[in-house]
């Protein structure tokens, strides 16, 4: 994936993880600030999906690499909304655990996406 875009997504994901960790420690629930960071992450993932699909023909490897690339790019934008949805319903600090898990997954999947992208000649 375009490197600056990956950086934006990773920074947003790490920020979200940190914020959720802090909220969990101080016993806070989902609020506007957390939603804002999640929204930035979501926006980055959506742009990533569009850019990824637009450049799909240049993604190297056999069908397997391409399939993985598409699967990751398409799945990623579903992760933050799902995590936030679960977290909103839970009224204990464990809600933040879901946000941390979701943000971590988004970071790992984006890194993997970048790996496949970098295989391009």
């Amino acid at each position: 994936m375009l490197f600056p875009l990956t950086v934006v997504v990773l920074v947003a994901a790490v920020l979200l993880m940190g914020l959720a960790g802090w909220y969990a420690a101080s016993g806070r629930l989902v609020d506007d600030r957390l939603l804002l960071v999640a929204a930035v992450l979501e926006l980055g993932l959506l742009v990533q999906l569009v850019v990824g699909l637009a450049h799909l023909r240049t993604v190297p490897g056999g069908g397997a690499e391409q399939a993985t690339f598409v699967a990751y790019a398409v799945t990623l934008p579903f992760v933050p909304p799902a995590a936030v949805f679960l977290a909103l319903k839970e009224k204990t600090r464990w809600a933040m655990g879901v946000v941390v898990v979701g943000a971590f997954a988004a970071a790992v999947m984006t890194a993997r996406l970048q790996q496949i992208w970098n295989l391009r000649g």
Binding site: G63, A64, T68, T75, A95, G97, V101, A105
Partner: protein, 143 residues
């Protein structure tokens, strides 16, 4: 719900549901890819991958629903998962030729940070914990 069960999705359980959901996603994706792209390379391993994916999906849904039946389904799914990760993990070391590619359970889930190995333990402990809360609540209820 009328029953005094502590829901399997409240408190720490919600995190468990999230992690199970994630693994369900990862396992399903990987297994669809393996079976559609190169099934002949290692049919046994890839079939086990698919089984793992189904079990994760079932466990996720059962834990998220958390009714009396769901609890039983979750217990069964997580027990199979525990047995599966141990059996496949061991087999992947003893007969590496049958597992040329990583699956969710091979090498005790090392490709996924050993989460597949730890998760069923946490899942079973959680079911036990919420289950004993149920029994306690029933014991306190007269009649």
């Amino acid at each position: 719900m009328a029953e005094p069960t502590r829901s399997t999705r409240s408190g720490p359980g919600i995190v468990l549901v999230a992690v199970y959901g994630l693994l369900a996603l990862a396992a399903t994706g990987r297994s669809v890819l393996q079976i559609s792209e190169y099934f002949s390379r290692a049919p046994l391993a890839y079939l086990l991958s698919a089984v793992a994916a189904v079990i994760y999906v079932v466990a996720t849904v059962a834990l998220a629903r958390g009714g009396r039946t769901s609890r039983r389904v979750a217990l069964a799914a997580i027990s199979v998962e525990m047995a599966g990760v141990l059996a496949v993990g061991l087999a992947s070391y003893l007969a590496p030729s049958a597992f040329p590619d990583k699956t969710v359970w091979s090498h005790f889930g090392s490709g996924y940070g050993y989460v597949p190995l730890v998760l069923p333990v946490l899942g079973l402990l959680w079911l036990r914990r919420t289950g004993s809360a149920t029994r306690g609540a029933r014991a306190r209820t007269p009649g």
